[in-house]
Symmetry: C2
Subunit: 134 residues, 2 copies
């Protein structure tokens, strides 16, 4: 079966889409847990490729966000995938420190939607106040 | 440890963020595979809650997108999570038909970034031409 999507010009994410900012999902390479979603621009993507560590673009701070720069919880990138439209990035990572979320949880998705509201379904790995000194 | 994020007012995603459109990750509830990323507005989210089937908002068609409406490959939602900022949604789903991607693959992330370009790392589950008649 031919697949016309596979051309020499398609080397990675299409940063012409999404206003230059694409969602990037970080998934634990070993457990498959979805750890977080952040955004990448071309510069952060290329730095991710060259360093092997996840670099995002912070929309709130309007600058590159080298994941773990403050907490030390860097993400070593084991593999990168793009979706069918090449406008979403999937990173398989080794999460140093065991927690991706600045709230101290392994995954940012530590709250489940229930009929009674949000329920925390995970245990904290670290205390944010100790790590970030806030 | 207190967690000030858990308040009665936080019942789910914050659609005031992201211009009313939030990214939603669909993850296979059983295998943990990340199947796709799409977007939800409040209406699609509420229909997802009420029907138990994933409903997204198509940015290209500017209308609700009841996943599987054409292919029959609906997603039964087993659990819903929100991230720390409540601006990303994670759905754990049972993917009917075994393939989430309109290209016929189990996951939309069927291509890996390699030094030589994108490499297809998955097998097709169905032929899109047969399913969509294109």
């Amino acid at each position: 079966m031919s697949d016309t999507d596979t051309t020499a010009t398609e080397e990675g994410p299409d940063f012409d889409r999404g206003g230059g900012l694409l969602p990037a999902i970080a998934q634990d390479a070993e457990t498959g847990d979805v750890l977080m979603l952040a955004y990448m621009n071309r510069e952060s993507y290329e730095e991710t490729l060259s360093t092997g560590r996840a670099v995002y673009y912070s929309r709130s701070r309007n600058r590159l966000w080298r994941k773990g720069e403050e907490s030390g919880n860097v993400q070593h990138v084991k593999a990168i995938f793009v979706d069918c439209d090449r406008d979403t990035i999937l990173l398989k990572v080794d999460q140093v420190g065991g927690a991706a979320c600045h709230k101290g949880y392994r995954s940012c998705f530590y709250r489940q939607v229930t009929p009674k509201g949000l329920a925390i379904t995970a245990q904290r790995i670290f205390d944010p106040e100790e790590v970030y000194g806030k």
